[in-house]
């Protein structure tokens, strides 16, 4: 896939959840300005960061994302008055929870990128891609998905004893 640019052993998958009015437009501006950035990011457009449910982040990691970016309008610029203020609190709490269960927060980036900040979009995406590339794949959730809890086989002494007592 990367035959022409075999620079890296590992190319991370980055998912970006962005609002349509600021960050999506900022990413558009990066395009119209022909700025260059790594091709690892996949953008999901939302009307507002207020719509972004923490479950989506969880889902993204479960689906194999190595890094997640959530980005919207700067405080006070929200097209919907206050969606980004609600998002700010929601994610301040959620990242603490993820940290507590052992997710490395280096993989989860939040940013404000306005429609005028094509350069900042490039910087945020490039930094996150490089950081996550150096960290290696996010294995935690993938391993969980591969694990079966219990096969159903009564194959240990402890289980046999317990089974016989029933």
């Amino acid at each position: 896939m990367h035959s022409e640019k075999p620079k890296h052993d590992f190319e991370p998958k980055i998912i970006a959840f962005v609002c349509t009015w600021c960050t999506y437009a900022g990413a558009d501006l990066a395009g119209t300005s022909r700025m260059q950035y790594p091709a690892n990011v996949r953008v999901l457009k939302f009307p507002c960061t207020g719509r972004i449910d923490p479950v989506f982040i969880l889902k993204a990691f479960q689906q194999g994302a190595d890094g997640v970016l959530v980005s919207g309008c700067h405080p006070g610029d929200c097209h919907y008055i206050a969606g980004n203020f609600h998002a700010r609190r929601r994610f301040a709490a959620f990242r603490k929870l993820l940290e507590f269960v052992g997710v490395d927060l280096e993989r989860l980036q939040f940013s404000w990128v306005s429609a005028a900040e094509g350069g900042k979009w490039v910087e945020v995406v490039t930094d996150l891609t490089e950081k996550v590339r150096n960290m290696g794949p996010m294995t935690e959730f993938k391993e969980l998905a591969l694990e079966e809890q219990w096969s159903g086989a009564i194959n240990t002494e402890e289980l046999k004893e317990a089974f016989n007592q029933i």
Binding site: R89, R95, F100, G102
Partner: protein, 306 residues
Amino acid sequence: MTQTIDTSIYAAVTEAIQSEAQRILAAGEVTAVVGYAAARRKGSAQPIVITAAADAQKLIFTPACVNNLAVYLTKAKKEIPKSGRIGIVVKGCDLKALVGLMGESQLKREQLYLIGVPCAGVLASTIQPDTGLTADSIAPKCRECDARLPQGCDFVPAGQPVTPELEKKYASEIARLEALTPQERWAYWKEQFSKCIKCYACRQVCPFCFCEQCLCDRNKPQMVDTTPRPAGNTAWHIVRAMHLAGRCAGCAECERVCPMDIPLNLLNRKMAKELKELYAYEAGFQVNDNGPLNSYTEKDDQSFIK
């Protein structure tokens, strides 16, 4: 020699609860009283709903009265308006749940007659019910209780609970986990969550899990894998902790009923701790129109945002 905790006031508290329940039922102030009664095993207690004044003498309060009775009001809340005002026996921790439920339009204060209990503590879930209350047998949540005398009730029996200063087990366990590396924490929780059998007892007993259709039961789209396997278990517990953040006041019922002994209350306490640090918010002390996660200020912390 373990330190004994003085529960001598519970006898007087029991009498006071009985006479108050008798009075309000007889006077027709309430149609029912939710409280505790003795159960079959020696020293054990179980929830009871009484509707006749004569039954008031069944009510007790002992260190075995562990349940948070608030759950009976949310899960059956549709019946309450029809049946009229209801009396309920509440410990300080249970009252916090009721206060939260009022803020979320699930209960109305005027529908309730609150009989508050001065509480020195109850037994841990792993202890035989006829054990005396000691620094060893007391429930972990009681070790860091800040509401021994419930505030704002309609009736509180006289009595000043005396509880010695005890080591805060949740706080120290949270601190221990926080000091680990992310990888170590992940390993810890992976082991804990792998025990989960998805019996949903934690959801069933939680006063705040009052949704009629849980997000985690949905299949269009499937937000959380419903089978009791590690991926789905982990997602379930993360989503649950997030949904309770800013609402849960730490009654620890989820942890008590968990048949697999997963330390669920740690997650809730951790979130409560963070929200207190971030937004100076503590759940359960007053009826709030807005919790910390459905309000904001323009000056909220955003040090984590680029």
